[in-house]
């Protein structure tokens, strides 16, 4: 029992990342009908927003500390971050410590801006072209974005820590009445899971309870009719593209303490997220979220030693195996709508 709970918990954080990326992908596919292969790159750029934020906050100048000397007896030069200089060592240190969550402040405008630029500058011209062309051009864009990041940040993963308050683990088992030290779970993964729930809830609430969301949902169902009613649906869809980019970016920002960001993390996640979208059903938002969590948890179950000794190698292929079975038995995916990309 404790092992099962542990695996569910372990699957949650990966599942959250899959769900968030897949949610954005589905949003773009559902509204604009575009298969966006650059979505993984957006996730990666979000992660690098956190890195940038950390570097910005740690910008420092040299100051001579009169009270201390170095080993030669000269006055010691110390690096003082500007933030500490302005806000004092306590508040300044705390701000630097919290640079990953603060990265959200940077990521939101950057990602929305990037999303707008992508949609207006590139994707717009591909609505009428076949899906293969959309895949190819966004694949090319993903390569370009990835190489730009590599040029500025290098090819090595960059460690970006969580705030000190969340850096440890807590004993989840004792909450449920298990023995101590049976179910240990890092705080930050819990934070990530809750964060993803908030984002997913926010997106659904936005679509469900606002007039804007209602129009967008109507547009997803029948774009032409909404256009005929005199609503500028294109502009709203552009906004949705920005929103989807922001969701991917935020998923990336908060993921940095779990996985040190490198320039190709986007591609690694993209392949799996596409599988998630297809399993959930193209164009179905609840399907994407459900499939994301389901596949994340399945993957962590498959990597249990007991399962691996039963079926060797299952942890490596479980996601793809599930995808193949679902694609062949349920042509529309788990929760796909009728008539959307059925063929």
């Amino acid at each position: 029992m404790d092992a099962i709970i542990l695996q569910i918990l372990n699957g949650l954080d990966k599942g959250s990342a899959y769900a968030l990326i897949a949610l954005g992908l589905t949003l773009i596919f559902g509204t604009l009908g575009v298969v966006n292969f650059a979505h993984g790159a957006l996730f990666m750029i979000g992660a690098f927003c956190a890195v940038t934020m950390q570097r910005l906050l740690s910008l420092s100048y040299e100051e001579i500390d009169p009270t201390r000397t170095d080993f030669l007896g000269n006055p010691l030069k110390v690096e003082v971050p500007y933030v500490e200089h302005w806000f004092g060592p306590d508040l300044g240190g705390a701000i630097i410590d919290w640079s990953v969550p603060l990265g959200i402040l940077l990521a939101i405008p950057v990602m929305i801006g990037l999303g707008f630029a992508m949609e207006r500058g590139l994707i717009k011209h591909f609505y009428k072209r076949p899906h293969a062309d959309q895949i190819l051009v966004t694949f090319g864009l993903a390569i370009v974005l990835q190489e730009i990041i590599k040029y500025f940040f290098g090819a090595n993963p960059i460690q970006t820590g969580a705030p000190a308050a969340f850096s440890g683990s807590f004993d989840f088992g004792t909450l449920l009445g298990f023995d101590p030290n049976v179910i240990i779970y890092p705080y930050w993964r819990m934070v990530y899971f809750l964060f993803s729930l908030v984002i997913i809830g926010g997106v659904f609430a936005f679509l469900q309870f606002t007039t804007f969301g209602m129009v967008v949902r109507a547009g997803m169902a029948d774009r032409e009719t909404v256009g005929l009613l005199g609503i500028d649906i294109d502009r709203r869809f552009t906004l949705m593209f920005g929103l989807a980019a922001a969701v991917a970016g935020l998923a990336g920002v908060m993921y940095t303490p779990i996985l040190a960001p490198n320039y190709h993390m986007g591609m690694d996640f993209l392949v799996l997220s596409f599988v998630v979208v297809v399993v959930g059903g193209m164009g179905s938002l609840p399907g994407a979220v459900l499939a994301g969590f389901m596949l994340g948890i399945l993957q962590s179950f498959a990597s249990m030693n007991e399962v691996k000794s039963l079926i060797p190698g299952i942890d490596q292929v479980i996601i793809y195996l599930v995808a193949i079975v679902i694609l062949l038995t349920r042509p529309r995916g788990l929760m796909g709508r009728k008539g959307v990309m059925e063929d």
């Binding site: 072209r129 899906h131 293969a132 062309d133 390569i143 990835q146 297809v278 190698g313 793809y320 063929d343």
Partner: protein
Amino acid sequence: MFGLSARDTRFLLIVIALTLLTPILLQPFPEGSSLAQFNAGYPDLMQKFAIFGIFAIGFNILFGLTGYLSFGHAAFLGVGSYTVVWMYKLLGYNVLPGLLLSVVISAAFALLIGFISLRRSGIYFSILTLAFAQMSYNLAYSVLTPITNGETGLQVYASDPQILAGSGAPTSPHLFGLVMRNSAQVDLGGWVFTFNVGYYFCAVMAILAFYISLRIFRSPFGMMLRAIKTNQTRMNYTGLNSRPYTLAAFVISGMYAGLAGGLLAAMDPLAGAERMQWTASGEVVLMTILGGAGTLMGPVLGAGFIKYFENIFSKINDGILHGWFAFLPDGLEDFIVACFHPFVGKGWHLTLGILFMLVVIFLPGGLVEGMQRIWRLVRRRKSGGPKRKDPEHRPTAAPHMAE
């Protein structure tokens, strides 16, 4: 001749001539000159041209003719490589048994994957092939280590049986005594030409592959595949079951990929799982699109183009750039070098990505279409005559995937 029309025969003969003269044609600059680094006439690179040409020709039979976009073709490449290295280990360094078997095994593998994947079309087909290829890649790294030797890669050890290898047999890949890595160097007043056995072996294979693909393009079977690309629904309504045709195309392209993988191992007796990764599948898609999907020469051009960039562009560093722009005033020189810096050397992928995007946006027919546009422009200016219809090399804007 060869069962081809006069025009196709001429085309084939030109291709054969170009392929056989590659070691001379790709060596246009004399040794030691500042442009010598643009020479591509060294064996390693020329072999890659031929091998990836074969890979792309095969991919084009599936994607170019039927419109099914497979994102998992690298799996067959890897299977081919592993087969050949296993044949080295068991039988000896003669490449022939390995190559034959690699084609057979990749065909069987393609039959299995194709049979399942082709039940769906469009993006679902892409995802299914991707899933199969990623599964093979992950398994090759983990559970199948006894067969694939995991991360180390499969290679031949002194303790391997090699039952067919005689006492005097060469200790590297060969074809009945013709050692692949042997080459003859001809020095003609500054120009050095390298004629490599391995390259000519690959070149003969590539010409064969090209000839077969030419025959497929001109055959009723090829017409049928094109009809499937244009409108599969209509084909089904006329009472035709299109599945056997697409499956045949998938298996044929899988065999091409297996042969290419086998040749990779025939040139360099190593096989690693990274050949099966989805980025490798993406690369052949890039090659085919960049050159021109659905055209005969396009994929080969694309393969050559990408491999040339990968090997030549990535070698250009700041020192070489400074050498080129040395005639400029100092400040301007530094500025121009700084402008070029992100796009060459390690950053050549950036150039490739931008180029690929430009091709998809402005030239959906790839490099072949670009050349035809230029050609037509020149001709029209000369004669002012009407445009010649050429449906073969300028396919109409049919949907790329069966939708």
